[in-house]
């Protein structure tokens, strides 16, 4: 019943896509498409939520579509329901936002048809129960999002972004194709039920783990496969950027969880050893990249990379614990990762919506040209502040809860018997702590330089508040950030059936803990009560305010800012994004990004202004992408000779291929 409803929603979204094609240029199209998507996504979210919360039975369905001997299998279990909830809720919020923001779209006919199709593709992936449907939906999702990235194709940078995105997406799908091929085995059992029942050898599981990490990881944004993410996410229209960062990366996480936790069966001891270092490096590199950026959307995209790292740290820990039979610790780590999936989709979408509002209000994405926006855009500034506090993992909001749970999981790992893990996990814990502190620094910079201070350009001076639909979407998300931070117990309990199905245990029941605290393992070990912390803070602040205004002065007057005796200091003298990041760039960037500063001082008498240039090199691009691109170019040049062979040579090639295949048949046992 729920499954058929959601499939009907998919059909509805595809119908909306067709509508978008037909009437894309009219004004009404925007309302119809985005409003329809809002309704469809809300319906699907409600259905998924009810399936998850009622811990309903797994529903399956087979339709005679696709490959004739396979059909299309669909399945709705607890894991699918959770990810569907995240996807559909994100889609609904983005549609609500787009109802307002979409007004500023110059070429709506390029966006409106693909938007509902993108949502449909993302909805189908968690429902897929066989390899063909999974890959088909995955590719559909990638292609529609590519079309959306290319919506503003007259900008040169977007062309490069689209190209890199297409290449990386194809690479990812190829890896997944090979992974499913290995899992299906020589008999070709592509249905997930068949794969679950089979027991592949150690060699095959190792290969599949690596391929799944490459395939899902490239879509999620694990270093070093992340290079497309900061190019493609900012290039798309804002509602699509929010969907790509906040939701599509979670679909990739779903793919990884489904393949590794579900289809591959019980983990081996070394799986965590592979996932954890990648995740730890991703965390720190992501946030350091973000700190070096001054384009607001790029900063947010790089930050997504960091959060994906945090999620994969939780998943890696869950794999390690499960391999050694510590199911309760695995449940803790797994729940922490999934809770972060949910939290991240909330605050990342919120932050992208805010940046979109800034973009339409000022026409600028570059923080170096913004500033002082808190005065013309107070509501946007408030919700962006809530998003920044949430993403910096500060209590009492929700980012802190999932990071706290991840730390608690790390503290359980001395009980792991493996030596390698005993050295790796504290190092990963240190990397996680470092990235959390750097994330706070990053968002002080992002919020402070954009919204605080004085306007640095004419465009920033002429900003205005954004429209009601965008604001309502943003306020809805901020309210949820607060609720998930104050009452995390309910969300943890909702994840119980998911972790039970995949790691064999779930966290203790949180709703029975007094005063709505959360207790990850036992009362004596640790507990946290978001609600009481929030209440204490509110009460203390109110007490202080009341006491001061009653007993002390409450007068106030305005005066010019302190200028150290130099009057008339213009807005250009305040700190910019690059200058704010300079200390951190000097500490971390000198080694990692080969950051160098060049100062050109003109000689006395010369009226030119002085120049300060900061040079950064991307180590991942230099080490991985540039050599691979060069190798491909060289190989292509060499193979180009095959364009112009004689007929006899072509016939020889065909003959050689035939003989080769016959040889394989002869030798294969």
């Amino acid at each position: 019943m729920s499954l058929t409803t959601i499939l009907a929603v998919v059909v509805g979204l595809l119908a909306l896509a067709v509508v978008g094609v037909l009437i894309g240029r009219t004004v009404a199209a925007r309302v119809i498409v985005y409003g329809g998507s809002l309704v469809a996504c809300s319906l699907a979210a409600a259905v998924a939520a009810s399936h998850l919360l009622s811990a309903a039975e797994t529903a399956t369905l087979t339709l005679p579509l696709g490959l004739p001997w396979l059909g299309a299998h669909f399945r709705l279990d607890a894991l699918s329901a959770f990810f569907l909830l995240v996807i559909e809720f994100g889609g609904a919020a983005a549609s609500l936002y787009a109802l307002g923001h979409g007004r500023h779209e110059e070429t709506p006919e390029r966006v409106l048809p693909f938007y509902p199709a993108f949502l449909a593709g993302m909805t189908l992936v968690p429902l897929a129960d066989d390899a063909f449907t999974f890959l088909f939906s995955w590719e559909f999702m990638s292609l529609t999002s590519w079309a959306l990235v290319m919506a503003h194709h007259h900008v040169r940078a977007n062309l490069q972004a689209g190209y890199v995105y297409l290449v990386m997406a194809s690479l990812g799908t190829l890896a997944l194709l090979l992974a499913f091929g290995l899992l299906a085995g020589p008999d070709g059992g592509y249905a997930f039920a068949t794969i679950r029942a089979s027991h592949p050898s150690v060699m095959i599981t190792a290969l599949v783990l690596g391929l799944a990490l490459i395939g899902a990881g490239s879509k999620a944004g694990l270093v070093p496969l992340h290079a497309w993410l900061p190019l493609a996410h900012p290039a798309a229209p804002t509602q699509v950027s929010a969907l790509m960062s906040g939701v599509m990366t979670k679909v990739a996480v779903y793919g990884f969880v489904r393949i590794v936790f579900d289809l591959l069966g019980a983990p081996d001891w070394w799986w965590g050893l592979v996932v954890l270092p990648v995740a730890g490096v991703t965390c720190v590199m992501g946030v350091l990249y973000a700190l070096m950026q001054h384009d607001l959307k790029r900063l947010l995209a790089y930050h997504t990379v960091e959060n994906i790292g945090i999620i994969f740290i939780g998943l890696g820990l869950a794999l390690a614990f499960e391999a050694y039979g510590m199911a309760w610790a695995a449940a803790l780590a797994f729940t922490a990762a999934l809770l972060h999936v949910f939290n991240h989709s909330l605050f990342k979408s919120l932050l992208f919506f805010g940046s979109g509002a800034v973009l339409t209000a000022t026409g600028e994405r570059d923080m170096e040209h913004l500033g002082g926006l808190i005065h013309p855009m107070p509501l946007t500034a408030f919700v962006f502040l809530v998003g920044s506090v949430a993403i910096s993992a500060l209590p009492p909001l929700n980012g802190f809860v999932s990071e706290w749970l991840t730390f608690q999981a790390i503290l359980q790992s001395p009980q792991l018997p493996s030596w390698a893990l005993k050295f790796l996990v504290p190092a990963v814990g240190a990397l996680l702590a470092l990235s959390a502190a750097l994330a706070a620094a990053c968002f002080v910079k992002a919020f402070g330089v954009t919204f605080l201070g004085r306007p640095r350009s004419r465009a920033a001076e002429r900003a205005h508040e954004t429209d009601g639909f965008s604001l309502s979407a943003m306020f809805l998300l901020s309210a949820l950030c607060l609720i998930a931070g104050i009452l995390p117990g309910f969300f943890i309990d909702a994840l119980g059936p998911v972790s039970h199905g995949l790691v064999g245990a779930s966290m203790p029941q949180q709703s029975s803990v007094p005063y709505l605290s959360i207790v990850p393992i036992a009362e004596s070990r640790s507990s946290y009560n978001g609600l009481l912390v929030f209440l204490f803070m509110v009460i203390s602040a109110t007490l202080a305010a009341v006491a001061i205004h009653r007993l002390a002065s409450n007068r106030l007057r305005r005066a010019p800012a302190w200028d150290c005796g130099y009057p008339g200091l213009g807005p250009a003298t305040q700190y910019t994004a690059s200058s704010f990041a300079q200390p951190i760039r000097r500490v971390f960037g000198t080694l990692l990004f080969q950051a160098r500063e060049h100062v050109e001082m003109p000689t006395p008498g010369d009226m030119r202004p002085a120049r300060l240039e900061v040079e950064l090199r991307d180590p991942v691009w230099d080490t991985f992408y540039a050599p691979v691109t060069r190798a491909v170019a060289v190989a292509a040049d060499r193979l180009n000779v095959m364009q112009s062979l004689t007929i006899r040579r072509y016939l020889t090639l065909v003959f050689a291929a035939l003989v080769g295949l016959l040889l394989v048949l002869a030798i294969w046992p």
Binding site: P426, G429, L532, A544, P583
Partner: protein
Amino acid sequence: MAVIVNLAVQGAQMMLVLLLAPLLTGLVRKVKARLLRRQGPPLLQPYRDLIRLMRKDVVLAENASWLFRAAPYIIFAATWVAASLVPTFRTGLLFSWTADLIAIIALLGSARFFLALAGLDVGTSFGGIGSSREVMIASLAEPAMLMIVFTLALVAGSTQLSTMAGFLVSSEVGLRVSLGLALIALIMVAIAENARIPVDNPATHLELTMVHEAMVLEYSGRHLALIDLASELKLLLYVSLIACLFAPWGLASPDAGAEALAISLFAYLLKLAIGGFLLAVFETSVAKMRVFRVPEFLGAALMLGLLATLLLFVSRSL
């Protein structure tokens, strides 16, 4: 009945930390002055400063926003809540289970987040200097602190501060290398977080040498009073933290009688006095580091914390 007594004890703890914080700062200033052969301000001078500031008008920059006006209250609230959760004279306070040590550190992180934002609000370069240097220091001090928390949690089996203090005051702990490393790292982090020499000079008037002072340069009146009180509370928090974790003798258990509580209160005051005195001696005997030596200092603290955690992971007896 027991609930009311517990509530009273928790309330007493909150008021105690609030009232003692300026006294600790006054003691440190007095000892520093005496070591430099000056008379120094009276011990109660910080109280007089706070009252004087409360009575003055607030002078706001023309383009200061609502965030600038709200930040002092948020900073004060976060720091006061964090300080109330650190056991001073008794473990097992009524609300000690609401936030463990990780949450306390994160609360101080929230306070610092808003302080850094307030520094950027007015749009002058002085606030920018303070905020950018402060987040650089925080980006290394917070991980070092978390590594110390990991070490203590692995030794005591819990991240709950009351449980940790209870374990460390019992006789099961013995002398441990990891605890020694954690103590040194905690002292280094405490110096950095409280903006003390050698990381930052709390008494400087030169903007180029400021970190914490630069962020609050624009504040005046009751706002400045709140921020000063919050930084005094933070100093008290860190000294109490070091005292309850590494010098826990005299700490009363939750079922102690009135006499044990009185002894423990006296012991706490003594520890505060000793801590303040040692801090003043240390500040007078070293010079302030240049700004880019601070990351190496805090990097060393992070390494010590990581080493302590590593030793505990590898061998449970270390």
